[in-house]
Structures are given as C-alpha cells and as structure tokens.
C-alpha cells in the first residue's frame, strides 16, 4: 500500500478563489492510501516545496499528489522536489485544478466538487505508480552518411569539422551526386562544378571523413547511438591505392558501345572509366557488365597500359562492418520516368530531351562540348520549347501529385542562358503556374521575361510530333488568350518531375524510417523536427525528405549535421522511462505491436519461458527502451493486453476512469 500525501495549492487566488481548497483537503483525507493532506498558498514556491519535502520525511510518504496548475507547467518541478526528498520522481501525479477547473468554472461548489474528483483520480493513479528509472545507453562517436551528393557532403563536412568521424557511403563511383551534372546554378548563374568540386576535394582530404564510393549499405542493426552497419564495397576491379587517375586506360578501352551515365547517355564511355574529370576519388572503375575481359576472358588492354599496375580483375566485393552513433540519409533524387508521357515523343525523337540532358548539352564537358545543338542532326536550333510540370502536380497514375519545386527556376535559368549565348534562338515556356518563392528568385524569373524576352505561355502542351520539315510541331493551349496554338520548334525540353532515388525504400526499411506515399522520407514532425526521422538517431538531409533546391539542401544538411553533433556530443543517452513493456507470459508474438510502432522499437525473440511450470520456447515481443518514446500505440494493438505502458498503464488509466465515475 502506498503512503500518499496530497498537496493542494491555492495558486494565490487563482485556485483558491473558485475552489474551496480546505474542503478539497478534507475530502481527500479518506481516500485509499492518503495519510497526509495539506493546502498551501504557492506549492511551487521554495517554501511550498520544502513543505512537501518535510511531509515526505515526516509521514514516510511513498507517493504524492499535487493539486495545482497543469502538469505541463510544474510536473517537472514537483518531480525534482520528490527526488530531493528521496522518493522516485515518477511517484508524483498532478491533479490539474487550475487550467482544467478553477479558471473555467465560476460556481464555487461545482468547481470544488470537480477539484475533489480530479484529486481522487490522481490519487487512484498514484496508488498504482511504480518507481521508474530512466535507462542509459552509450553513444558511438561516429556518423554514417548515406549518399554522397551535395547534401551528404555538406552534412559530412559539418560533422567532421565539429570533430567527429564521418563515413560517406555512395553507391556510384564518385561523390558529387546530381549537382555535379549541373552546368550552372540559379539564381546566381555560377558554375556548379566551380562551387561543388572544392567541397568534394575537401571531403576527400578531411582527416575525419572516410569515403566509401561504389559502395552500398547492406544492413543496419541496432538503435540510436549504437547502430551496427554492414557496407558492401563493390569490386571496382581497380586498386584504389595504386590508380593515379591518369585515365590512359579509359581512352584505350575498346568496349565503347555503352552510354555514359554522367552525360545522361547522350554519348558513350569505355567499360573502364572515370565518371568525370573532377571525380572524387579520381580512380577508374571497370564496368564488368560491359568489359570484354569479363565477357570473353580476352582483351585486358587496360591492364597492359596501366603503368601503375592498378587493374585487378580478381577483385571481390568486400563487406565492411562499422559502428555508428547516428545516421544521415542523404539519398537525393532522380528524374522520374518521362517515357510514360508519350505525347511528347521523348522516346521517339532525339530532339525531345529532359532538362538534365539539356544541362549536359550546355556543359563544356558534355557531349557537345557546351554548344547547343539538336541531338538529331547536330545543327543549331532556332526555336526551343520548354514544357513545365511533366509529371509534377499530376494526380493521374503516371505522374506525381507534388510540385517538384526546382523546375520553374531551372527552366528560367536555361531560357536565360540560351537567350544570352544565342540571341537568335526563340525560347517558349509552357507553364501551369510559375512558382518562384525564394531569395532573388522572382527577380530572376522576371529578368528572363523582361530582359531576355523569353516567351512564357500559360498552358499545357497536348502533343508533340515531327512535321514534314523535319522539325517538331508543338500543339498546345494558351489559357490566357484562350486559343489553341501550333508552334514549330527544333527542340523540346521537358521539366520532368523529380522523385526520391531508387533504393530509398530499402534504405528506409533497413533504418525502420518511414516513407510517405511518394517515397519521400517522413520527418519526425513536419514543422518542429524537419530534419529528424521518427526513428531516433536517423536524420534527413536533402531531397530524400522532399523536393528542394541547392541552398535549401545545404541548409538542411547543416541542420542535420548539428542534430548529429548534438547527439554525438553526449557520452550517454538518457532514455524515457515511460516505455512500453510486454508481459512475457501473455505475449503471443503476433507482431501486431511491431506494426504500429513508429520507431521500430519492437522486435521479437525466441525465448524459453516458464509459464507456471510449463517450459516452452515462445516468440516474444521485445521493446528497445532506448527507442521507445512511450506513445502507447502498441498497448492497444496488443490483443491479449500483454503490452503495457509504464507511467500510463492499463490499470492506472482504468483507476482514473473509476475514480472519476465513482
């Protein structure tokens, strides 16, 4: 049986004016377990707290109820008071007789009666309280970044600069990501490579950063502060330590039929290649699906020309195991599949391209060495049509319901760059809406319209086809003029929707991080915790969380890094003691609880139980209290009632219901 003290606060006149505090004290004295009750003017004051401490000592109290303001206000205060007096802080319950009573009721009898009932409910609950101890877990001071684009690089640099070890896992052969493929960046029109490559080099040279390129995360186990990760380092068939990046092998390779991914397959590369000149690491890689040596066992030309002896045809995939305290997902995006939009002839006509392909065409290192040419006949175009929202803001099955956010701006950029470099080219842009929120963004778009005379037409393109002149005809509607238009053009550029990178689903399920219906990773709170995943210790950086441009990505990457640093700076994590716990004798191992847990805190073990003398091995739920946040979803999903929540147990809540309804 508990020995309970009840402390009724006047809160000056805030409570005492409407609630007869003396009557409350008298009324609760006969409640089960109550052996002391007193009222006082300001319970939260130094003197009030001392009163509680003295009473705890004097009456050997095991639990206390404070009838006062909201627990959201002073629960923490009174828990500390209890701790000072030597009882467990979780043996405190608050009856909210101010916000929920004295402040809203005018009739003193009514308010007093309600205050007594609220006090009874708290007493009934504290009778069933048990001392709770917050757990502790250690923190591995190392972070893992999944994805080596600008988001991953920025997060890694920020964490590394704060003094912690960081590993970047990147599945392609170089870091840099999508930004490396861009020619210029809006709204300043500076060259992407000029601002990105120094960061890539910095990441490679940073003493705290380890790069695992051409590698993928194989498995993730563990929890916040203690992740065990297996990384598969795919065989490059080139010794990274020996290769000097001289690129002789890449020029000699006779297998040159396959597309060059870096240039969006607009030109070809050898089977042994370096993705691009500024690749980090600047090391060749052999594409075994194209290499003649792997296909026929012959060739081996690269091996012959490599003066460093770096070619290793017998290299194997390698598994690296490492422990991490925090993980940042920075898996970025890809261009969505535009082949579904066949009205634009993308699959049929080489002059219909995506915006990313245009980036490569405009880039000095691209397939046309930076000269704007039609891919069909390598001639200079006279007219270019841009089509916005290809797959974005599209509620049909083939599109994405969301706005890809970056297309309005990069299309204005493309239009402007083309008009600047080739004033003879007419540029038309078909749009649904032009969305340019952002610093200097609208000014940028207006420059395209006003200074560069880019022809913006509100309306969607219905159809594109090749006409008898060997050019393209664009059928569209001008919504503002309310008329159909037919435009003859040389090139059509599609602003295709962006979508989360392929493989993000696997990453998310490995991390038990949730994803939304569009495969974007879900944040822990859409407004207040936008860079954290609901899974503790997993953070989000860049487009994997939602469409965003480079400055936003970099900001989020920095924010994620700060969250990581904040976590790694701790030696121990104190865990919330109000966690779910299963009763092993009642658990069926049915997996219902696991399915509703937003934190992936529940797993199952085969364990021998002794059920009243009957020994058997059962599948039992196990809650990782370091991950459990105490929402209680599992307690209701559990059909047998085996799962219960400390601090808000079934019996405690039932007791409150009973007390209120008495």
């Amino acid at each position: 049986m508990q020995r309970i003290g009840v402390f009724v606060c006047w809160c000056g006149s805030n409570i005492a004016a409407t609630v007869d505090v003396a009557k409350v004290v008298e009324s609760v004295k006969g409640e089960p377990g109550v052996c002391f009750a007193q009222d006082y003017q300001y319970m939260c004051s130094e003197a009030g707290q001392q009163l509680i401490i003295n009473a705890i000592h004097e009456h050997k109290l095991t639990g206390i109820v404070v009838c006062s303001c909201s627990p959201r206000m002073h629960e923490a205060t009174f828990r500390k008071t209890a701790e000072k007096a030597g009882i467990n802080p979780y043996m405190v319950e608050i009856a909210n007789i101010r916000e929920h009573c004295s402040w809203i009721h005018k009739d003193k009898d009514e308010a007093t009666e309600k205050a007594v009932i609220l006090a009874r409910a708290a007493i009934a609950k504290v009778n069933l309280n048990a001392p709770l101890q917050p757990g502790e877990s250690a923190v591995t001071k190392r972070a893992l970044i999944i994805g080596g684009g600008i988001a991953g690089i920025q997060s890694a640099l920020d964490i590394a600069d704060a003094g912690y070890k960081v590993d970047i896992v990147e599945r392609s052969a170089t870091i840099g990501g999508k930004m490396a493929q861009l020619d210029k960046t809006f709204p300043t029109l500076d060259c992407a490579a000029c601002i990105l490559t120094p960061k890539m080099v910095e990441a490679a040279q940073h003493p705290n950063i380890t790069l695992y390129t051409y590698s993928e995360v194989e498995s993730v186990k563990g929890f916040v502060g203690n992740f065990d990760v297996k990384i598969k380092k795919k065989a490059r068939f080139v010794d990274e330590n020996k290769c000097t990046g001289c690129a002789v092998c890449t020029t000699k390779c006779p297998s040159r039929k396959g597309g060059n991914e870096f240039n969006c397959n607009l030109d070809n590369r050898g089977a042994v290649y370096i993705p691009f000149a500024q690749a980090v690491p600047n090391v060749a890689v052999i594409d075994s699906t194209r290499c003649l040596h792997f296909k026929t066992g012959k060739c081996g030309l690269c091996e012959k020309v490599c003066s460093a002896g770096a070619i290793k045809f017998d290299q194997q995939d390698e598994i690296i195991e490492e422990k991490y305290g925090a993980i940042v997902v920075a898996t970025g995006f890809q261009i969505s599949d535009v082949t579904k939009f066949d009205e634009f002839q993308y699959t049929k006509h080489p002059d219909v391209i995506t915006s990313l392909e245009l980036e490569r065409i405009m880039n000095a290192a691209g397939p046309t060495k930076g000269t704007l040419l039609r891919m069909s006949n390598k001639e200079h175009p006279k007219d270019i049509v841009f089509v916005q929202c290809v797959g974005s803001r599209d509620n049909t099955a083939r599109g994405k319901c969301y706005c890809s956010k970056i297309c309005c701006m990069y299309t204005a950029k493309h239009a402007m760059l083309i008009r600047e470099k080739y004033p003879d080219v007419n540029v038309h842009v078909f749009y649904i809406d032009v969305r340019t929120p952002g610093k200097n963004f609208d000014e940028f778009y207006r420059r395209a319209v006003e200074q560069y005379n880019v022809d913006y037409i509100k309306g969607m393109v219905g159809k594109v086809y090749e006409n008898e002149n060997g050019r393209l005809t664009v059928q569209a509607v001008d919504l503002l003029a309310d008329r159909r238009i037919m435009l003859e053009t040389d090139m059509v550029v599609l602003a295709a929707a962006i979508e989360p990178s392929s493989g993000v689903k696997d990453i998310a399920s490995m991390l038990t991080a949730s994803i939304d219906t569009n495969n974007f990773l879900t944040e822990a709170h859409p407004k207040l915790r936008p860079v954290e995943s609901p899974t503790a210790g997993v953070f989000l950086s860049g487009v994997c969380q939602g469409p965003k441009d480079i400055p936003e990505t970099v900001s989020q990457a920095g924010a994620a890094a700060v969250k990581v640093v904040g976590l790694l700076a701790k030696d121990k994590l104190v865990t919330n003691p109000c966690t779910a716990t299963p009763n092993e004798l009642m658990c069926n191992g049915c997996s219902s609880c696991e399915r509703v847990c937003p934190y992936g805190a529940i797993d199952y073990v085969e364990k021998e139980v002794n059920d009243h003398g009957k020994r058997e091995v059962r599948r039992l739920a196990r809650v990782n209290s370091a991950l459990c946040q105490g929402c209680g979803a599992c307690t209701v999903a559990c059909p047998s009632g085996a799962m219960d929540l400390k601090g808000f147990s079934n019996r405690q809540i039932m007791a409150e219901v009973d007390a209120i309804c008495k």
Binding site: S70, R72, I104, I117, A633, T635, V636, F648, I660
Partner: protein
C-alpha cells in the same frame, strides 16, 4: 451521473481522454484564456490518442459515464507522427459497433484539438455537454449497480 445537492438537477458525467501534446495543452489554453465549459467534463491525460483502449471507453460507460469524448492532435500533427491515425481507425470502428448495438451514437465523439485551439476545446466541450444533457442519462451501456 452526479447529483448536484443544491439544485437536485441531473448533471451528466463526461469523460474526456486528451493526448498530452495537443489536446491536453489545448484544454490548458482554454483554462488560461478563461473559456468556460461545464464542470461535468473530466479530463484524463494520455500520452497519445493511440493510447486510448476501447476498454477504457467501455469501462467509463460501465461505471456511469453518460458521454465519452476522445481528443487528439489533428491528423498529420501527431507528436508520435502516426498515433492518431491508428486511433482514428480504432474509434471509428468502435463507435460504429456501439451504434450497431443500439447505443446512442451521440454519446461518443472524437475531436482533433491542437495546443493552440483553446477556443475550439471550449466550444467542443460545451457542445458535447449540451448534446449529452439532451440525451439524458446513459442506461443502455452501464452497470446498473453503479447507478445509485
């Protein structure tokens, strides 16, 4: 059911389950803003609406509650990200079942009240208390022994 000794008029008993992060804070705000609602409403704090077990609601009815209302964060704003989505399904099905058994559907309600919606909290409780008062005493789903 409670009997007000002075007036001897019947007063309903209403149990409100409020999630700690939104609705309980909304109720606090109603208090801070002095927005009144009947004292018949008694609030029980739970961490999340997904902690509300249908058994708690039935238990409240058994013990004499005349109405039970559950309040949680608006869908999409759950502190635990998904709790109220599960609660929404559970309560929809439970209430539908109670209705199917012929228990006045108006005696059960779910409202989403954010921490900023003190006004809404007060309006909801006033409205719910009015509804329950009009319905009168709950006799269909209760333990007769609890009715003194």
């Amino acid at each position: 059911m409670q009997v007000n000794e002075n007036a001897k008029e019947w007063k309903p008993l209403i149990v409100a389950f409020c999630c700690n992060w939104c609705s309980y804070a909304g109720a606090d705000l109603a208090g801070t803003s002095r927005l009144s609602y009947p004292a018949d409403v008694k609030i029980i704090r739970v961490p999340c609406s997904c902690r509300v077990n249908p058994m708690f609601i039935l238990k409240a009815f058994e013990k004499g509650a005349d109405g039970v209302i559950m309040c949680g964060c608006h869908p999409g704003d759950c502190h635990y990200s998904t709790g109220n989505y599960y609660a929404r399904r559970r309560m929809t099905l439970l209430f539908s079942m109670l209705d199917y058994l012929g228990i006045d559907r108006k005696r059960t309600r779910v409202e989403w009240v954010s921490a900023a919606e003190g006004q809404k909290f007060s309006l909801v409780m006033n409205d719910f208390a009015k509804t329950i008062t009009e319905l009168g005493e709950n006799v269909k789903l209760g333990d007769i022994r609890c009715k003194k």
